[in-house]
Symmetry: C2
Subunit: 210 residues, 2 copies
DNA sequence: CTAGTTTTTGACCATTTGGTCAAGGTCACT
DNA sequence: AGTGACCTTGACCAAATGGTCAAAAACTAG
């Protein structure tokens, strides 16, 4: 059987080709969504024939699962890194910064994720309700404590986290719109600097106890 | 020729059927994206045969264009209603409220729009760069004046508007995720109340001059 | 070098899907 | 009721697409 990632050790070629496929697939799925992406398209992007692609992954859905799974891993990191022992406003600021960097440096992953959620998260519903929810619950408790200690202005941490997700990912997911509105004059670098400054003023400002 | 919306006056049946089609198409496109939606699916949703659908709209893309165009109209209203003569913090608060209500009451439209942008806005690039940009530029000038008058804390209004779009639409576009994280316990009504309260604290708080 | 394994692909197939067409049914107006 | 325009659809078509298969090419271990 052609199952590549099985018990047997992976060959050099397998490692290389699978990596090429996942890279091409990420671009394709992020740009066109699951339904809008063709195996031929991914194969072309990966520089191989469609049967060759299907030799490494049994089906289109399996390619999608693989690239989505890989994305999910890195997706949780920024929130995990929120340190309960740190200085509250600094931790929030750091979290926003990390999320914003991710939008800037890995926009395709962001769009892939957005597409999956928009479609109703058919493949990762359980991750959202399990791993993600648990992680968020944990961090919400931390933030609640910070609020109780008077280190942050009173607010609902769930919605703070939603707001951080929404605003930071917006720059990747709605990139076209952001560019259109800002016009060609603003460079990507400036955009992210402005965004950082904005969050520092408004979000952090809004969270600062008075 | 079958062109329905031409010079000739539209018949009663045309009005009815086109409305049914657009409603079904909105659901289909919002749920499955352009590529993931089939004419048969829309036709079934509208309670008619595929050839009958194609009698009213010449192609799948034209159906999509129609439903997207209709959505765009209502999409700009909340920002248009931002009143330069109003009290700044109140105007911002009102804008947030209107956008949030739209997310709650017209989530399908929000998702349709999100899908189009995510895909690179192939059909509405020009609207974004034209109508939308002009409107935003105009309101940004208003907000800048408010800042200059010391009525709002200094900030970049472009990013304020992005933040408002992102956070409010998040509740429609990423609904599945929001639900998953909050768990079944929180009703839709409560969710929107909490969100409103959050924005009042953090965004409005962050914009209040000190 | 050789044998066995892994990798690669052209040709092919079944299904789905956007769209056509001709024929029949329905509606509105006189 | 009659007639012309409007509406509806079953049957059909061509293209696109997910996936198969057998046979050839390339690689690896001994």
């Amino acid at each position: 059987m052609a199952r590549a990632a099985e018990t047997r050790r992976r060959t050099r070629i397998q490692v290389e080709k699978e990596s090429q496929i996942l890279a091409a697939a990420l671009n394709a799925f992020a740009q066109n969504g699951f339904a809008g992406t063709t195996l031929d398209g991914i194969a072309a992007g990966a520089g191989m024939s469609k049967p060759n692609l299907i030799y490494y992954f049994d089906s289109k859905e399996e390619v999608y699962r693989a690239v989505l799974g890989r994305t999910l891993e890195t997706w949780l990191e920024p929130l995990i890194a929120l340190d309960p022992a740190g200085e509250p406003l600094n931790e929030i600021r750091g979290y926003i910064r990390r999320k914003l960097e991710m939008s800037r440096d890995r926009p395709q992953e962001s769009r892939l994720f957005a597409g999956e959620i928009l479609a109703g998260a058919p493949l990762i519903r359980d991750v959202l309700e399990g791993e993600l929810k648990d992680l968020v619950d944990e961090k919400v408790a931390v933030i609640r404590q910070w609020v109780a200690d008077g280190k942050l202005a009173p607010h609902d941490p769930y919605h703070l986290i939603f707001a951080i997700w929404a605003t930071t990912q917006h720059y990747a997911d709605f990139d076209v719109q952001v560019r259109a509105v800002l016009g060609g004059s603003v460079s990507e670098d400036d955009r992210y600097k402005e965004a950082t400054a904005f969050f520092d003023t408004v979000i952090i400002g809004g969270l600062t106890p008075r």
